[in-house]
């Protein structure tokens, strides 16, 4: 963070210098701002009403993936907030955005809604005090996403002349830190477009900084105080090497960068925390106050993660529990007959599973997904489901209910453990949370890989009669494990339980998944009614090979000749599951034609008899025993 702030400070000094060197102000296409309006929702905030029939569970994988491909790949998600109640609309017609508020479903951080002429509600960002400091608003952020999954980020901004600060700026920021395999240090990068002022005049500043290659670019355009500007950053991946970054002012490109960092920046593995998108106000002087206004924020990104997940998936659209998928035999009822506990009902989301935990029942109710065949702990990547707590529940005490992964560890001696995301509470207070724990009833091993108990407290209050997507993402790298818990794509918290509950990759683990409603202390005084939909367990998506290179070459015998494209690549060491094959496709227009499938120990392919003057684009994927992974592209001139 210090590196970033230092870099920005340097850039700001350059900005002040620019004021001296540019005594005249250019007309920059002044923008008076517009009232907020509804922007069509082009994406899906979380998976619901997926038309995949649950019979698809045991369809062949190619069919499943082709359906998922058409359903979920590269969905562009359009986050929009004008702070007047428009934007962030969900596929079910509800909104994430709230009128006159900073919706906690869309924003984290600091900001205050104010009335502003011509803008109804806008966000006022203020920073004051005796320190150089900053405040910022951060958009909800999808994890495990690469820089180029982001398409555009824009907002209307204005610096009112009432600020007393002599050095401050408001800016749209993409930033992240890259962890390159084999290197200890994290390398920060940042993309800023800012509107800054020295108290007298203003300027737009575009900044691209990447520490790994000591890249630092900056560009200035004079501007004015008390004037609304639309600032925007567009990102486009041109090929496997280059990213094009456009900085726009009022829809006019004022500066572009061609960054040869695509291979690093587009690899989500290098960005385990995901790039952050935020709007920041920062002042460079002490003992003054800086004020900025923001409105009409738009952030478009490509939501890749749902694609190709769904080896285990059920949305109950057959109207019943698919017995090939669900195991009812492990129900453990104490006082309630199984048929009354759950059933598949139809509501406006289609068929969903309704769970009723009867008043007075005490014990554990559980319905399990049948275990994936021999899936070890480290190979489960995501657990996700949609959940609604009915306000018709009249229980004052909700037992724990969630989707858990259970496992049995055989080393150093038998123990069981589980992790999951769940709801708990009672009356009007229900929360979601998650964590990992061992089963305390089992003997606790004494090795360094103890499965010691811990549990993260419930962290987020949720409402009745509202659908939530609860999700747990699991990333493991050798002995290291990270669990990320999300609600509606918003990261609740992360756990890195290496020393607490990680069974470790060397342990024999059998995983299974279960909804269980467990009585903790006392029986509920009333019924608990919960609806569940879109249950989703995914094994890991194979990551594409690294350092894919291509060249066109001339090859001849004495009497025959040809041009050929030579593709070379390296195995991606971050794949948790062994890659079984590589697939190479040729992209021609909108079609993708499979050229060849190669064993995983082959790292070169020669595409023979290509045309000398033709540009060829290839797509490469890795396939593990579950599925084909995300592609990487390369173009050969």
């Amino acid at each position: 963070m210090q590196h970033r702030i230092a870099a920005i400070n340097n850039c700001f000094l350059a900005l002040l210098l620019a004021f001296v060197c540019a005594p005249f102000a250019l007309e920059c296409g002044m923008f008076d701002g517009v009232e907020g309006k509804e922007v069509p929702w082009t994406g899906i905030p979380f998976m619901r009403n997926n038309p995949l029939d649950s019979k698809a569970w045991f369809m062949d994988k190619a069919t499943i993936f082709s359906q998922w491909e058409s359903l979920s790949t590269e969905k562009e998600v359009n986050l929009y907030d004008d702070f007047d109640g428009h934007g962030g609309r969900q596929s079910d017609g509800t909104y994430l955005a709230e009128k006159g508020k900073l919706s906690s479903d869309m924003w984290h951080g600091y900001g205050k809604i104010v009335k502003e002429p011509g803008h109804q509600n806008a966000v006022k960002l203020t920073i004051s005090g005796d320190q150089e400091d900053y405040n910022e608003l951060t958009l909800v952020n999808p994890q495990v996403i690469s820089l180029t999954d982001f398409r555009t980020f824009s907002a209307d901004v204005m610096l009112p002349s009432v600020s007393s600060s002599k050095g401050y700026w408001i800016g749209l920021i993409y930033e992240g830190e890259i962890k390159i395999l084999g290197q200890e240090a994290w390398s920060p990068w940042m993309l800023y477009i800012t509107l800054g002022s020295d108290g007298q005049s203003a300027a737009i500043n575009c900044i691209w900084y990447y520490q790994q290659t000591s890249t630092s670019e900056s560009f200035f355009v004079p501007a004015r105080l008390d004037t609304w500007y639309n600032l925007r950053i567009d990102i486009k991946q041109l090929d496997s090497k280059y990213i094009k970054i456009d900085f726009l002012l009022d829809d006019q490109t004022i500066y572009s960068i061609l960054s040869p960092e695509a291979a690093v920046l587009t690899n989500a593995v290098n960005l385990p925390l995901g790039p952050r998108r935020s709007i920041r106000i920062q002042k460079e002087k002490k003992n003054d106050q800086a004020i900025a206004l923001v409105d009409n924020v738009k952030a478009v990104y490509s939501r890749k993660m749902p694609a190709k997940l769904g080896i285990l998936y059920d949305n109950f659209e057959t109207g019943s529990l698919n017995l090939e998928l669900w195991d009812q035999g492990s129900l453990d009822f104490v006082t309630v007959a199984p048929p009354e506990e759950y059933k598949i009902e139809s509501d406006r989301h289609g068929y969903v599973m309704k769970v009723v935990h009867k008043e007075g029942s005490l014990g554990t109710w559980r319905v399990e997904l049948k275990p994936l065949e021999s899936v070890p702990w480290g190979e489960i990547q995501r657990v996700s489901f949609d959940l609604l707590l009915s306000s018709k529940s009249n229980s004052d005490s909700f037992p724990r209910l969630g989707l858990d992964i259970h496992g049995i560890s055989q080393y150093p001696r038998p123990a069981s453990w589980f992790t999951g995301i769940e709801v708990r509470g009672g009356g009007s207070k229900v929360h979601v949370g998650g964590g990992i724990t061992d089963n305390q009833s089992m003997p606790v091993p004494t090795s360094s890989k103890n499965l010691t108990y811990f549990r993260t407290p419930m962290l987020r209050k949720i409402d009745f009669d509202k659908w939530y997507n609860l999700r747990m993402d699991i990333a493991s790298n050798g002995d290291k494990l990270r669990l990320d818990f999300f609600v509606n794509d918003i990261l609740l918290f992360s756990e890195t339980p290496q020393d607490h509950g990680n069974p470790g990759p060397d342990l024999a683990v059998k995983s299974h998944f279960a909804f269980q409603s467990q009585k903790l202390n006392r029986a509920p005084s009333g019924d608990m009614i919960v609806f569940i939909d879109n249950v989703h367990i995914s094994p890991p998506i194979p990551l594409p090979p690294l350092n894919v290179t291509g060249q066109k070459a001339f090859n001849r015998s004495l009497l025959r000749s040809e041009y050929l494209n030579v593709l070379k690549w390296e195995a991606n060491p971050n794949n948790q599951t062994a890659v079984e094959k590589y697939s190479i496709y040729q992209i021609e227009g909108d079609t993708k034609n499979l050229i060849i499938e190669l064993d995983s120990n082959i790292f070169e392919y020669r595409h023979h008899n290509v045309r000398k003057e033709t540009q060829y684009t290839y797509c490469m994927t890795a396939t593990n025993r579950y599925m084909e992974g995300t592609p990487t592209y390369i173009t050969i001139e």
Partner: protein, 184 residues
């Protein structure tokens, strides 16, 4: 080398014709030679190599004789980029006229001719099998070892430009060899 060959050629032309081939009408010899292709890409792919062949001579008038020969060349090489294996066979059937400058134990000669170069090449890029007309010039010295037996040292230069597919190539080159034959 070229200068030496030129001087030798001029000297031989100045020598009056004699009773060549030991006064016999026919000669038949088998020969082996070292072949150095003219074209660099030929050398790069296949390198130099050996050829084998037979040659028939027929005395027609004074120092002149007709000749006909068949030569066989084959080689295995590597493609220029992928280094995959490629194979070539060339069979050159040529004929022409020779002139012997001397008779006796040592008979130097020069000759010219044309020929049909049949070639076949197989590689991962593709297969070619075709034939083209080429030209050949030769010079040599025939030694009478014993009665009816000759030893022939000869140098040939051939030229055969072909383009059966995408690229042009010259199948010819310089060939230096030795032959052992009979006259009758």
């Amino acid at each position: 080398m070229k200068k030496t060959a030129f001087i030798l050629g001029v000297a031989l032309l100045l020598v009056p014709p004699g009773n060549f081939l030991q006064g016999k009408a026919f000669s038949l010899e088998i020969k082996g030679a070292y072949f150095q292709p003219t074209e660099n890409v030929f050398k790069e792919i296949y390198g130099n190599g050996r050829t084998y062949g037979v040659e028939l001579g027929i005395r027609i008038w004074d120092g002149f004789a007709l000749w006909a020969s068949g030569d066989y060349f084959n080689a295995t090489g590597k493609l220029t980029f992928t280094r995959e294996e490629t194979k070539i066979q060339i069979i050159a059937v040529c004929g022409g006229v020779k002139y012997y400058f001397l008779s006796g134990r040592i008979s130097p000669y020069v000759g010219l001719g044309i020929g049909h170069f049949a070639y076949k090449e197989e590689s991962p890029i593709g297969k070619v099998k075709k034939g083209n007309l080429g030209y050949i010039g030769k010079a040599g010295i025939s030694f009478n070892i014993v009665s009816g037996l000759i030893l022939d040292i000869q140098v040939d230069y051939s030229y055969c430009q072909v383009k059966p597919a995408e690229v042009k190539a010259n199948l010819g080159g310089l060939q230096a060899g030795i032959g052992l034959g009979v006259v009758f």
